[in-house]
Amino acid sequence: MLISYREALNQAMREEMQRDSRVFLIGEEVGYYQGAFKVSKGFVEEFGVERVLDTPITEAGFTGLAVGAAMAGLRPIVELMTFNFGILALDQIVNNAAKVRYMSGGQLSAPMVIRGPGSAAHQLAAQHSQSLEAWFCHVPGLKVIAPATPSDAKGLLKSAIRDENPVIFIEAQLLYGTKGEVPDHDYSLPIGKAAVTRTGSDVTIVAYSKMALLALEAAEALSKEGINAEVIDLRTLKPLDTDTLLESVKKTGRVVIVEEGWEFCGLGAQIAETIYSKGFDLLDGPIVRVAGEEVPMPYTRPLEDLAIPDAARVISAVKKNL
C-alpha cells in the first residue's frame, strides 16, 4: 500500500497500542490536536485520554514522568514536538533513562521510545533546525534510529516500541509527507541492520534519514556519468551495522559519508573511524565527509540552502574521492 511516512508511523503506534495495553503516547499536542505533525491522528478517539496524553510545554517534566512510568513497567512513547526541544529533556534522557539499568545493576530499565522530528525543514532558523542525533549516539544505554522511508519507519518504530531499552527515534521533519510502499501485514524490522538501497561497485555512499534519499538522488545522477555508487542507508545509528558497511567497502574501496548534522564530532567521524579501524586495508583512498556547515541554521533561504548538504555537494565529494 502506498502511504506517507506520517501514516506509517501512525500505523505502527496504533497497532502496538492495540497489541499491548502498557503502551501509551505522551507529549505536547498529541491528543486533541492529533500531533503537531498529525502523526497521532485519530488516537484520542480510539484510545482515550488515559492513553493519549496532552502535556503542558514542559519537556523535562513529561519525559521524566515517562521514564518513571517505564521503570514501573509501562511502555511510554514520548513525542517530542521536535528534537530541538529534546534538549530540555536531555537530563531525563541521559541521566535517568539511559543509566538506570546500569546504576541498578540490572534491576530496573526504562523501556520507552522518544520520538519526533529532527533536522531542518524550511526556514525554521537556528533553534528549530538541528540534527542532534550524534548527542544521543554518544550516550551508553540508548539506541538511536533514524529511518528514511515509510516502510522502514513503520517496521523500526514497531521494533523500538517492543524493545526493552530506551530508544531515540528521529524522524526527519521534511519526510512526513513523503510516500512509499508499506506492507499491509504486521511486520517489524530489526534494530541495528542497515539497508543497501542501491548496489554499485565504484564508491559507497553512507547516509541516513533524509540524507539517505539525497544519496540515492546523487547516485542516480552519477550513474549517468558512468559512476556506479552503492548507497547504504544506516537506518539504525546505534548500534551501528559495521558488517554491512565493511561488506560494501570490500566491494567499492571508496567511501563518502553524508550527514545533515555538524561535521565536528558528528556521526560521520564515528563511521569513518569504524571503517578505518576495522577495514583500512579495504580502502583505496581516504574517506570523504559531507556534512552540515558549522553554523547555527540561518533563517534566510539562500544561506539555509548553503548550510545543508545537497546532491551537488555529494556528487562533487564522490568525484573528489574517485
Binding site: G64, G68, M71, Q92, N96, M103, S104, G105, N165
Partner: protein
C-alpha cells in the same frame, strides 16, 4: 533558627503524651530503624576514613525521623524514591544492611552489584526505586511512578524525598504541575535541613519560611511537620496516604529537620557555612533522643532495653561491614553488563 524550643537544662521539651493507641512494639520498631540508620552511617563514616568507601558519601544523620516516619506509614508495595542522601530511606524501606554496606564498598554483592554506590542505592524488590544524584531530577520520575499506579488502577502511592535545595529547580515545578494537573498519588517530602549543600535556605530562595507555599501555588495541598518527631511525621503521612488511596491527589510535606554532619565527607564537621554552636544546638533536637525520651516517660521501655537494642543494632552493622569487606569486587566482565537489555 532553632527548630524547636529547648528548655534551660538543655533537655528536649517533650510535652505531648504518646498516642494511647500506639502500640509499644511499633514505637520500638520506629526507634530501632532510626538507630540502625544512625549506627550504619556512623560506621560508614569510619569506613570512608579507612578508604573502604570512596566517592561521595552524604550522611543522613539527624534526619532519620523523616524517612522512618514516612516509610512506616506506607505499605511494602508502595514506591519510595529519593535523592543522593538515600541510605536512610533505603534502610527504612527494609533493604538488607549487608547489601547496602556492600554497595558502599563497591562489591559484587551490593544492592546494585557495586555499580550504583552511595548515591544510587536501588532495591526494586522492596519498591525502593532509588537514589538519584541530579538535584530535582528524580521528581518527574516519582510522578511517573504514580502515573503507572493510576494507569494500572492500583492504589499504590509514591513517597518522593528531596532536600530544600531541590525546591527552586525547574524539574521540581514541572513535576508539581503534572502531579497536580493529573491528580497523581505522590507525596512530595521536602526534607528542609536548612542547607542546599553549603548555601543556607534563605540564600536559596526568597520564600523559604514556608516552602510548602511553592506546592500550594500549583494547587497541591500541603502541611509542615516537625521532622525531628518521628511520630508526628508518621501520623501525618498515614493520614495523607489513607486519603490518597481513595482519592488520588498529590500532597506536599515540608519536614523541618537538620543534618548533623556536613553535606558530604568533604565537609564532615560543621563546615565553614555554619557555626559549631548552631550544630550543637541542633544536636539537642536529636530525633532519637526525642523518641527515646517519650518512650521512657511513658514507661514503655527502660534504659536496659535501649542498651540491649543498641547492642543488637551495632551487631547488625558490624556484620554488614564484615560481609562487605569479605565480598569480592565485581569481575571485569561485569563492566559491560547491564548497559542494555539484550
Amino acid at each position: 533558627m532553632s527548630i524547636r524550643n529547648v528548655d534551660q537544662s538543655g533537655l528536649l521539651m517533650v510535652n505531648s503524651k504518646l498516642d494511647p493507641n500506639s502500640n509499644k512494639n511499633d514505637l520500638l520498631a520506629l526507634y530501632r530503624y532510626m538507630l540502625l540508620i544512625r549506627r550504619f552511617e556512623e560506621k560508614s563514616a569510619e569506613m570512608y576514613a579507612l578508604a573502604k568507601i570512596a566517592g561521595f558519601l552524604h550522611l543522613y544523620i539527624g534526619q532519620e525521623a523523616v524517612a522512618v516516619g514516612c516509610i512506616h506509614a506506607i505499605r511494602p508495595d508502595d514506591y519510595v524514591i529519593a535523592s543522593y542522601r538515600d541510605h536512610g530511606h533505603c534502610l527504612a524501606k527494609g533493604s538488607d544492611p549487608k547489601k547496602v554496606m556492600a554497595e558502599l564498598f563497591g562489591k559484587a554483592t551490593g544492592l546494585c552489584k557495586g555499580k550504583g554506590g552511595s548515591m544510587h542505592l536501588i532495591d526494586v524488590e522492596r519498591h525502593f526505586m532509588g537514589g538519584y544524584a541530579i538535584v530535582g531530577g528524580h521528581l518527574p520520575l516519582a510522578v511517573g511512578l504514580a502515573f503507572a499506579s493510576r494507569y494500572r488502577k492500583e492504589d499504590r502511592v509514591v513517597l518522593c524525598f528531596f532536600g530544600d535545595g531541590a525546591v527552586p529547580s525547574g524539574h521540581t515545578h514541572e513535576a508539581f504541575n503534572l502531579a497536580a494537573l493529573w491528580k497523581l498519588p505522590v507525596i512530595f517530602i521536602c526534607e528542609n535541613n536548612r542547607y542546599g549543600m553549603g548555601t543556607p535556605v534563605e540564600r536559596e530562595m526568597l520564600l523559604y519560611k514556608d516552602i510548602a507555599e511553592r506546592a500550594r501555588a500549583h494547587g497541591i495541598e500541603s502541611e509542615q511537620v516537625d521532622g525531628m518527631d518521628v511520630l508526628a511525621v508518621k501520623e501525618l503521612t498515614a493520614r495523607v496516604v489513607k486519603k490518597m488511596r481513595k482519592d488520588p491527589q498529590p500532597f506536599f510535606i515540608e519536614a523541618s529537620t537538620y543534618r548533623f554532619m556536613g553535606h558530604s565527607m568533604s565537609d564532615p564537621a560543621h563546615g565553614h557555612y555554619r557555626t559549631k554552636e548552631e550544630v550543637g544546638e541542633a544536636r539537642k533536637q536529636d530525633p532519637l533522643i526525642f523518641l527515646k525520651t517519650r518512650i521512657l516517660q511513658d514507661g514503655l521501655a527502660n534504659e536496659a532495653d535501649f542498651k540491649q537494642m543498641d547492642k543488637e543494632v551495632i551487631q547488625t552493622v558490624t556484620e554488614s561491614v564484615k560481609f562487605a569487606d569479605e565480598s569480592p569486587f565485581p569481575d571485569p566482565g561485569a563492566l559491560h553488563e547491564d548497559v542494555l537489555v539484550e
